[in-house]
């Protein structure tokens, strides 16, 4: 039934970077995929049904969705530079949008994934890029 987990042996050159989509990384890819799915669906519904109500918020939703999709693919395929770029943009986005949404509620009449630092999603959008960057750093060397 349940099998014992062995520690990964350093295969290949010891200085080569480890793949980012295996082990704990697979969990990151799964959660990123989940957010890619939900953010795209939400942005799609918002833009299709009520774009005129809050165009800026909905375009930000769409931007967040695209970044989650690219981050998912980049982490799964060990494209480190792209993954670092996505996680950094995400962290910047959630901090900026989170702060602005609290200071000026009128600017964001409807919620985006990043409003209130991702409070509507259990603050996962805030934790996720930090975890991603940490994981990318940890897998730099085998």
């Amino acid at each position: 039934m349940a099998e014992r987990v062995s520690t990964p042996s350093p295969a290949g050159s010891p200085r080569a970077a480890r793949p980012t989509g295996r082990g704990p990384g697979r969990v990151l890819v799964a959660v990123y995929g989940l957010f890619a799915l939900s953010a795209s669906a939400r942005a799609g519904v918002q833009i299709a049904t009520k774009f005129h109500e809050a165009p800026v918020a909905y375009l930000l939703s769409a931007l967040a969705a695209v970044i989650y999709i690219v981050a998912t693919v980049a982490l799964a395929r060990s494209d480190r530079r792209l993954a670092i770029a996505c996680c950094s943009i995400e962290l910047l986005g959630v901090l900026t949008v989170g702060t602005v949404s609290l200071l000026d509620r009128a600017a964001f009449p409807d919620a985006t994934v990043w409003s209130g630092y991702g409070a509507g999603y259990g603050f996962v959008p805030l934790v996720l890029p930090v975890l991603g960057l940490w994981w990318l750093r940890r897998t730099r060397r085998a």
Partner: protein, 121 residues
Amino acid sequence: MTPHGLGTAVIIAGLLAAAWCLVTTLRRRAVGIGELAAMAAVEALVVAQVAVAVWHLATGARPRELPTFIGYLVAILVILPLAGLLARLEPTRWGALIATVGCLVIPVLIVRLNQVWTGVG
């Protein structure tokens, strides 16, 4: 959503399955046939819940945000099979953690489905 009992059953089953998978994760084991069976049981309840929701829609009942509601219905159907597949692809404790997260998403989606149906939140 009329059958509150079914929704509650899905939430409790999802939390129990999540707890089991979390224990497996903490014991540093990969998911086995037991965890997959538990996830399948939750999925059976989810399918029943989605069938009830579709029947309500077919008989003319309308949630406040129909597209969102349908999106959540599709999502709740595919989450556990995808989580199970990923958990099998990663036969380590991290696969068990993926299964845990997948099981936890189910109660969240049931709550959101209820909110969208009644127009709260």
